[in-house]
């Protein structure tokens, strides 16, 4: 009961959706769209579980005075403040006007955006340190990786005089030829792996996600 019904549901819904793909008729499309809505709505309900987990972990940190517990207070404050602003302090539960609340927008523009953009921009540094650390001519494979990356990075460097244009052409050759071949092979392999995994789920061979008992 606790495992059979879920496995049956996976099988039925899975097979149905596979065949749905080959039926262009309106009624089949309607069901497809309805199901996608289901998934979306289930996902939103599940967010409550996520938020509960976040609150509980933070609360435990504060309660048991775990290391850095002070910061958990900031997390909770940020969470509740944002929810409060988003409902316009409770004035707009069922209309989207809360989204235009001044504080809600200010928090978005001046806290979320700068921090996220800055996290993203850390890549400028990490791409440099990763290149320094890992691009060593240790083996033939590592050397291929290193040389190919160097050529592409040098493609617009003006300090190579007459060989500059050749460097640029080589770089575009590397991007358009071996890179394309590598990508195509990986895509085909991934496609087959995905189909195999999805079939395993539908057939109930892969069932780790259902848990036990």
């Amino acid at each position: 009961m606790k495992r059979q019904i879920p496995l049956l549901l996976v099988l039925v819904f899975g097979i149905f959706m596979i065949f749905q793909y080959f039926v262009p008729h309106e009624s089949s499309e309607w069901i497809y769209e309805f199901f996608l809505d289901w998934i979306y709505i289930i996902g939103i309900f599940a967010l409550a579980l996520g938020i509960w987990s976040l609150i509980r972990v933070s609360y435990d940190k504060i309660k048991y005075k775990k290391p850095n517990w002070q910061y958990a207070v900031i997390t909770l404050a940020g969470l509740f403040a944002m929810i409060l602003f988003g409902f316009d302090y409770g004035r707009h539960f069922f209309s989207a006007e809360g989204l235009s609340n001044y504080m809600f927008r200010a928090f978005f523009d001046y806290i979320l955006i700068p921090i996220q953009a800055t996290m993203f921009s850390l890549l400028a540094f990490f791409i440099a340190s990763a290149a320094y650390r890992a691009f060593r001519a240790r083996s033939l494979l590592a050397t291929l990786l290193l040389v190919s990356a160097l050529v592409v990075m040098l493609r617009f460097n003006p300090y190579f005089g007459p060989i500059g244009p050749y460097l640029e052409q080589t770089a575009s050759w590397l991007l358009n030829v071996p890179n394309l071949a590598a990508k195509r092979a990986i895509i085909i392999g991934i496609g087959l792996g995905m189909v195999a995994t999805a079939l395993k789920v539908i057939l109930g061979i892969e069932r780790a996600y259902l848990g036990k008992d």
């Binding site: 400028a124 540094f125 791409i127 440099a128 340190s129 290149a131 320094y132 650390r133 691009f135 060593r136 001519a137 240790r138 290193l146 160097l150 990075m153 040098l154 617009f156 460097n157 003006p158 300090y159 500059g164 244009p165 640029e168 575009s172 358009n176």
Partner: protein
Amino acid sequence: MNIFDRMMSLDRRWVFLFVALVCVITYLIPFSIKINITPEVKSIYDHVESLKAGDYILLAIDYDPNALAELHPMTYAIAEQAFRKELKVIFVTLSQNGPGMADQAIRDISDSLRLEKTYNGITYPARQLINGKDYVFLGYKPYPALVILGMGQNFRLPFPSDYYGTPLDSIPMMKGVLNYDQIKCVIDFAAGNVADMWISYGQGRYNFPLALGMTGVMGADYYPYLNSGQVFGLMGGLLGAAQYESLADNPGPAIDGMRIQLYAHIVIILFILMGNIGFLVTRRKKQV
């Protein structure tokens, strides 16, 4: 620990520091760098340079704010060059958010023209751009393919009046200018498939010289048209824009951007080389 070991196992914070310093310094201190010029960009510059005062060119501003960083520098450099040479410029846009882009470009370039400037050793006097005498901005119309075809018959068909509402017939510089036959070249700055339409419906049908400025991602796909001679020049991305700025001796945001990129790349490459020298030397020592 000798110097080679040190070269291999540098604290990565030195890498961070150098990258940050180089970016900040190259950002703060403007200086020009040498840019490799490719023939497909140079041919656009040469074409514009070969025109005489009073010749007409058409600039199509077919991009919106998303592609501004890459395409605006091209528009600025070419329009500045054209106006300094006293060419007459017709602006048109086939992209929905294009009018804002064109409007901004025209305003900024008129400001810049009010100053006396020297490009490639030639000093150009300050001049006041006059709408309708030096340039005309036709505005935006949907259905790019039909607009391109229609302009081949007569500009007045898709655009009876310009962007500001003046009938084309009462604009002095449009007198006797009917269609592409009176235009010396069309340069399309495109961030979408409008470029294809300029190639097949414009150049393909009316056979005028066409050059393209595109985003970096798109650029590579259009080289076949260059080989087949359908377009006489091609600029791709910030790199293409920087080449044009450098040809026109008019350093702007594209060269600024390239300068930062270039030196950041050089720093990274130097670190990679340093790591490898250290690695190779220490390995040889171990083998001995």
